[in-house]
């Protein structure tokens, strides 16, 4: 099979027919037995009918990336078989609905012409002549084992047992597919039913129905003897405690709750808005406080109360960032989340926040661009854009999390940076992080403390007043940071304006003040370089003298780490430099790591944007580029091949990866 740890499971079907639910049952079942999973979701910008699929890689130890070649493909529609059959490794299992055997390729309108032609070509046929059985044959010739299932028979049995109609049972095709694949691998039915209960939140009627389907499927698989014929078998692992199954939208939302974000604006957009929906679902927040924590607080209500987050759907993204900024002015930790076109609309608002030193956090999920682009596909195309977005020059922090777990901690840090340095912070993620699913052991809510920076209280202001001093929001200070006052605090007022301003916040065009204010604002970038620990800005993984250094940012991290493990078993020692704070750029550290190493830049975009940034900041030019821009994430298997080519001196300077369906 493949050189990587673990196995790859793949399910596919039409949008709206339960692919995600199916994957959810599968991952839950595996987690229940203690397996670590990584799931990757692919779907069209469409509500119903287009092809959607889901990879799950699983292993006994943690996995951080997906593999495209499958070990088990379970398909309840014909399209999935046409699209994915030939991606299997030798010895893989392909489970399908035998009723589709004679389905014609040409009858499936959701398959792109280009793809249909390529499939036909691969089979040496014309599109009009291709049947599903043809592709099965081809798959078998690759050493893939084909398992026909009689969906009709399975569901008929359920129908007779439950009095459900066949039409309504069609909704459980996904459960048949999942159950069959689990049965094949020797997973226990009882555990599966437990997983089903979990996924359907113990709603008895639904759970019972789906359990019945699972049971019937198990019977069917057993009756055919499939369950004894497949090499890969699951076993119950010993594990302390449960596994948390989360995607990036969720870890960011959880990070916001923990960080104390209490105001979130959004305008619906894929793949950002699920974060906001999750927050809205959890708008009432449990608190853990003691009397000692708040000895003097007036709102002692806090002690027996809950907190809350207001999640506000705006009319557009301009309103989203400006409303979040308006809220932030009052001192609340405020944020907005968006993607692609949304950020393009936020540019002017970002500048106002920068000019007025307002801490506002923008979580930006990159997707395939430009323009509407590929709304549901992934890319890392916005690095330069977010660093330079906005006319004129103002400080900002741009963080790029490497994975779903890191996104949780980075979210909390984002608010800390925003408030300590009083500037907009952009947390740069992507669709891969947003929509992938990973099993993690725990989120450590005490790992990152809350740091709110300098804020003057009512009491501080009273003191000032008694000294006859006026509060100045933009006071010139040593550090460039001026103590904040939350708008609405007693004993003060202040002003803010997008125009250049004096210390009080009033408009000025005075060239001397202007220059000082520019320097005050921009100097905060130096302060960040001085104060933020380097491992929050960049991180090196690997031996001191690697055979080859990979440099990247964002969501490629998991894939690269998984690759390093595999390659080291083969005797190749890779190093990996992950840039976490892309702006301000950690140039000294990066220079010291790159030194005179041979290095490869790895990015999910066309122009190798980080490569350019590194050259701008350090002068180093990547020895090799590995890039991809077809809207699909670099997979572990294709990166393995590309890096091997580099190591063996067979790679061109630029390799463009092309995998993905």
């Amino acid at each position: 099979m493949l050189n990587f740890r673990g196995h790859s499971w793949l399910i596919g079907g039409a949008q709206g027919t339960g692919i995600e639910r199916g994957a959810s049952i599968f991952t839950s079942a595996l987690a229940l037995w203690g397996y670590r999973v990584f799931g990757k979701r692919e779907y069209y910008s469409n509500i119903m009918g287009e092809h959607s699929y889901y990879y799950v890689r699983f292993d006994e130890r943690p996995v951080h990336s997906h593999i495209e070649r499958y070990h088990i493909l379970t398909a309840y529609d014909a399209e999935t078989v046409f699209r994915h059959s030939l991606e299997g490794v030798e010895g893989a299992a392909l489970l399908f609905n035998q009723a589709h055997k004679s389905t014609k390729l040409a009858s499936i309108h959701t398959i792109e012409e280009r793809l249909a032609e390529d499939i036909a070509k691969r089979l040496g046929k014309q599109v009009k002549d291709v049947l599903l059985s043809d592709i099965l044959e081809e798959a078998e010739s690759y050493g893939i084992k084909v398992y026909p299932l009689d969906y009709n028979e399975i569901l008929s049995k359920v129908a007779s047992k439950t009095k459900e109609t066949m039409v309504s049972l069609a909704r459980t095709n996904n459960v048949v597919a999942v159950s069959a694949s689990l049965a094949l691998m020797g997973y226990e039915l009882d555990s599966l039913i437990e997983a089903i209960s979990y996924v359907f939140e113990n709603k008895k009627r639904v759970v019972d129905l789906n359990a019945a389907v699972a049971e019937a499927t198990y019977e069917h698989v057993r009756s055919k003897g499939y369950d004894t014929s497949f090499a890969i078998k699951l076993r119950k692992l010993n594990r302390n405690g449960k596994l948390l199954l989360v995607n990036g939208n969720q870890t960011v939302a959880l990070g916001k709750l923990v960080a104390g974000c209490r105001f979130q604006t959004y305008y619906p957009i894929t793949p950002a808005s699920d974060e906001s929906f999750f927050l809205e679902d959890n708008e009432i927040i449990d608190l853990q406080v003691t009397q000692e924590d708040f000895p003097v607080i007036q709102e002692s209500k806090i002690l027996d109360s809950t907190g809350s987050i207001v999640v506000f759907q705006t009319e557009d993204e301009i309103a989203a960032i400006t409303a979040a900024t308006g809220a932030a002015l009052t001192g609340v930790r405020a944020s907005t989340s968006t993607s692609g076109p949304g950020l393009s609309l936020m540019v002017e608002g970002l500048g106002w926040a920068g000019m007025n030193e307002v801490p506002v956090v923008v979580v930006h999920y990159q997707r395939g661009g430009p323009s509407t682009g590929l709304p549901t596909r992934t890319e890392q195309g916005d690095l330069r854009f977010v660093i330079h977005a906005g006319h004129g020059e103002f400080p900002r922090v741009v963080l790029a999390s490497g994975d779903i777990e890191e996104a949780f901690y980075d979210t909390i840090r984002a608010f800390n940076y925003a408030e300590k340095y009083q500037l907009p912070v952009i947390l740069l993620l992507d669709k891969y992080i947003a929509n992938s699913l990973v099993s993690i052991e725990k989120l450590d809510v005490k790992k990152v403390k809350i740091e709110r920076g300098e804020v003057l209280s009512e009491e501080d202001l009273l003191k000032l007043k008694s000294l006859n001093e006026e509060y100045k929001r933009f006071k010139f200070t040593e550090t460039g940071v001026s103590p904040r006052v939350f708008a609405g605090t007693k004993h003060a007022v202040y002003w803010a304006t997008g125009d250049e301003h004096d210390e009080a916040g009033h408009i000025t065009e005075d060239p001397v003040l202007r220059q000082k204010m520019m320097e005050k604002r921009m100097s905060k970038l130096n302060l960040i370089e001085k104060e933020v620990p380097i491992d929050e800005r960049a991180k090196y993984f690997g031996p001191e003298n690697p055979d080859l250094l990979l440099v990247s940012w964002g969501s490629t991290k998991g894939t690269i780490l998984d690759l390093m493990e595999t390659m080291s078993k083969e005797g190749h020692n890779l190093g990996f430099l992950q840039i976490r704070m892309v702006h301000p750029f950690p140039e000294n550290f990066v220079s010291s790591i790159i030194g005179n190493k041979k290095w490869v830049i790895v990015e999910n975009n066309y122009s190798a944007q980080l490569g350019g940034l590194i050259r701008e900041k350090t002068g180093f030019v990547p020895t090799y580029q590995i890039v991809k821009y077809n809207g699909r994430q670099i997979s572990l298997d294709e990166l393995y091949i590309a890096v091997k080519r580099v190591i063996f001196g067979q790679a061109p300077k630029r390799q463009v990866l092309t995998n993905g369906a």
């Binding site: 207001v310 309103a319 400006t322 809220a327 002015l329 609340v332 809510v445 403390k449 007693k490 304006t497």
Partner: protein, 325 residues
């Protein structure tokens, strides 16, 4: 009775650079006077503006003042209000600012009924960029700053506010500060989104609707031979358009039809006063309170988020639990 705040408490020492005779001065002092008469603590008031001559207003008022982006005062203001529903939030906008580039926010804010006040500086021109036609300038009118007669029809702020869902709609006149002040006070005190459209002469660029014109220039009473002021007060003519929950559909329809006729009135007779007051709707904040029972008591902007040692106090364990297998 001793008043806690003096009128001067609402003024700043910032040099005011509006043109001499600008109607903005009247609006400014009406706002200050209203805040004074309502004895609002300056630290409890947040004024947001967009960009334009009107946009400079907050710098002249001694409250928290935010001079934001062209067309965006409303979302900034709404964000602040929702974070701190206990504060008084006012947005002042130019007619280009609020009804041109900002029209999308204006319409969508109307639907929410957030408890705040919008004041429109209606001078029919883009003042700060030197006199182009604003959306309130009527078709075919050619102010001295325009090379050609205006090619677009005007939007009627009263009507647009009504169609957008504002629950308090009034019109004032910049030079009748006493009357305008009262309107602003009512707007502030109204529970829900309130709009006050203020006819604001711009002596520099608008030579059509000038102070003199509003005062009656050319509008000669054939009987007396005297000029009749164009502006009159709705309340003086028994007009009233308050909509309440207990009114019949028919009654409401009648009231609204009447309001629309008034909204159109222009030329020799121009009504000012309260056009519309709708008491049927909860505010956005009240609706939020239905979802988050302690929203008003413990709003976002007042919540503690960390404990003595700086650790987060949000407890996500139940959520984590629900996501764990």
């Amino acid at each position: 009775m001793e008043l806690k705040f003096k009128l001067t408490d609402y003024r700043t020492s910032v040099h005011n650079n509006w043109c001499p005779g600008c109607g903005d001065f009247g609006i400014l002092s009406s706002i200050q006077q209203a805040l004074y008469e309502l004895q609002m603590d300056p630290s409890n008031v947040l004024i947001f503006s967009g960009i334009g001559c009107s946009g400079k207003t907050p710098h002249y008022i001694n409250t928290y003042g935010f001079h934001t982006l062209h067309g965006r005062a409303l979302p900034y203001a709404i964000g602040a209000k929702l974070a701190r529903p206990d504060l008084e939030v006012i947005a002042v906008v130019g007619d280009g600012d609020g009804l041109g580039i900002g029209a999308g926010h204006f319409v969508n804010a109307g639907r929410r009924n957030v408890d705040f006040t919008v004041v429109i500086y209606d001078n029919e021109v883009y003042g700060l960029t030197k006199g182009q036609a604003a959306p309130t300038l009527k078709l075919g009118v050619q102010t001295k700053s325009l090379p050609k007669p205006n090619i677009s029809q005007a939007v009627n702020p009263i009507l647009l506010a009504y169609a957008s869902g504002y629950t308090f709609i009034a019109r004032g006149y910049a030079y009748d500060t006493n009357h305008l002040k009262e309107l602003i006070k009512q707007a502030i005190q109204h529970r829900g989104s309130a709009v006050v459209d203020v006819l604001q002469p711009c002596p520099t660029y608008n030579d059509i609707h000038t102070k003199d014109w509003y005062a009656g220039k050319g509008n000669v009473d054939p009987k007396t031979g005297k000029e009749i002021p164009r502006i009159y007060k709705l309340e003086n003519e028994g007009y009233n358009c308050v909509i309440t929950n207990d009114m019949s559909e028919e009654e409401i329809s009648k009231k609204i039809a009447q309001m629309i006729i008034k909204a159109y009135e222009w030329g020799d007779r121009i009504p000012v006063g309260v056009f519309y007051r709708d008491l049927r709707f909860d505010t956005f904040e009240e609706r939020l309170e239905k979802r988050i029972p302690n929203y008003k008591a413990y709003p976002p902007g007042k919540q503690a988020i960390s404990n003595r040692e700086g650790y987060p106090i949000a407890d996500i364990s139940k959520i984590v639990q629900s996501l764990s297998v």
